[in-house]
Symmetry: C2
DNA sequence: TTGAAAGCGCTAACAT
DNA sequence: ATGTTAGCGCTTTCAA
């Protein structure tokens, strides 16, 4: 097949050991360095990382296991990780698992067979078996967007963000605040709901349970849910859409009903900064900084690879969200 | 580190060659098979694909090089490929290149060093250097969403789809048809524009150049463009948004201007089936079947791996689009 | 500074 | 059917 270190050695008239040293930046004589470099160029030689990896027991690859890649949150983080780590020669093996915990386990095995240097996992709430498998693994693991005992984690302060939003709405005089959550067994959805309830408790108010909705976190889900909400006898004065898709659905439904946001009702959305900024009025929204999250994940992985952090210490990074306030929220009663 | 074939052999009391045969489904005695299987289980042994790959000169990995992963079209295809190939033990290494042709080349080298078995490339229009590099490569390559001489390709019939759309609009009596394209140097944008012009030519009509717009294929781009269009003295009677983001922007702008689609103007969108179906009226749209595309890509790759297709034959797969007609388009003048 | 040689974990002749 | 052995392309002692 392609040229090997042997070909380079022969052409340069040195031993393969010397070429290897050159490749690994171990000092060799100037003259040899020059001739080896020339040989490499003219043969268009490229180090076989597989062979090298077999020897030194690393592959310069990391595996990413996630429920669903077709999701701007996931891809945003993956891109950020890939961007950071590729500069250090790493490649990212992505495994989309179609929201299926069983497939997550299968793909974990696949990645382990490929001897990835590390693992980045976006678990599902019911990934019990996966977690058990992960506990047996000895390579660095970073868990994303969920807190799991005993693992390094990077996540967003979902509860804090939802608290901040709800608290703000309450402070603007709203008490009939609708929240459109995701599936009941979705970690982030639960966290965001917690923030919502916490805000009411903090204000010594009762939680308006009739305004709590669960959807499948899709645009049609949000759309239909809002359509239902607007059929209610006593409509909420504010609506909180807790993810991108749902918020888009709400937005579309509201436009269809000819409702003016910031007038007929106050609206807080999640994610979709770009979308939020172009509509009129711009939407109040919670931004999850996926680039930052990917960077944090990468740093943790690298610090584990370099054994910079004691194994006894587990790293928990809660990345703050950025909450944008706009005229989509107004004082209640106006 | 982890257990090796040697450990299994020792535990089972056979040679490593026998274990290897077992692993590769070469027939061995029943009794040995049983004892080896037990040893593997109790040691939790897993074959080292790296070592195996070094020997047999394959890695069971494919590299994907694309301009931008954060894009439902790209991710849809990647997921489909990964789904198909992972069943055969392959992993996918994704390389997001931030729309930068130079980075594409850099990441190609990275992947080549990892000895991927094949390459799946979504080129940019100005990926000249990348293409030159790819010509030197000996592993199977599949080009996606663009036609490049000498390579196997899978793409959508962009021109045909745009023709069909425009032809339909013309047949409904429209002649002031606005098209909102992407960047001037974007392959699919160019193809779609070709279909648009072809339809006018076919009907012996002049192309209404004042209604041809270029954007950056983003939602704000589409939004702003439509806002400008609606300031025109003589407004178009139909608008064709040629990708998802642009169509969403148009939709939002129209709602904001209180325009009723299918009444104030006819609208044809691209992609976003889910979105298109939930608004009122549902949107006429062109669907690109990313799952199908990923499957085609996978089949081509596999047929090349298995040398099922003569090297002299290049495979060109044009995946048809699915055009959905709804009440978002009405007869002109109504 | 350099090179010979062992060996990473596996496969595939080949011989038994 | 099984085992011995060479070797995939590389790194890394160790001796020169």
């Amino acid at each position: 097949m392609s040229t090997t270190i042997k070909d380079v050695a022969e052409m340069a008239g040195v031993s393969i050991a010397t070429v290897s040293k050159f490749l690994n930046n171990i000092h060799i004589s100037q003259e040899n360095a020059v001739i080896i470099e020339e040989s490499i160029k003219s043969l268009n030689y490229q180090k076989n990382e597989i062979a090298s990896g077999l020897k030194v027991n690393r592959t310069k690859t990391v595996g990413v296991i996630l429920p669903r890649l077709v999701d701007i949150f996931s891809t945003g983080i993956v891109v950020s990780i890939e961007d950071r780590l590729s500069k250090l020669g790493y490649n990212v093996l992505v495994c989309d698992c179609g929201q299926d915990p069983q497939i997550m386990c299968t793909k974990l095995r696949l990645l382990l067979g490929k001897k990835v240097d590390g693992l980045i996992v976006f678990p599902l709430l019911d990934s019990k078996e996966l977690i058990e498998e992960l506990k047996k693994v000895t390579i660095p693991i970073v868990i994303v967007d969920q807190k799991i005992e005993g693992f390094d984690t990077v996540r967003v302060d979902n509860e804090g963000a939802a608290f901040e939003v709800t608290d703000h709405l309450i402070s603007k005089g709203h008490n009939n605040i609708a929240i459109i959550c995701g599936p009941v067994f979705n970690y982030t959805s639960i966290e965001r709901y917690k923030g919502y309830t916490k805000a009411f408790r903090t204000h010594d108010m009762e939680i308006p349970r009739q305004y709590v909705f669960n959807t499948d976190y899709t645009t049609p889900g949000g759309y239909n849910c809002f359509m239902d909400i607007w059929k209610m006898q006593e409509k909420p004065t504010a609506v909180f859409g807790t993810n991108y898709q749902v918020s888009l659905g709400i937005l579309l439904a509201a436009r269809e009903l000819n409702l003016k946001i910031g007038k007929d009702f106050s609206f807080f959305s999640f994610d979709n900064f770009e979308l939020a900024q172009i509509v009129d009025p711009p939407l109040s929204t919670v931004i999850q900084e996926t680039r930052l999250m990917g960077e944090e994940v990468s740093e943790i992985f690298l610090s584990r690879m370099n054994k910079e952090t004691s194994e006894n210490i587990i790293i928990e990074k809660v990345v703050p969200t950025r909450v944008i306030y706009t005229d989509s929220v107004v004082e209640a009663g106006f």
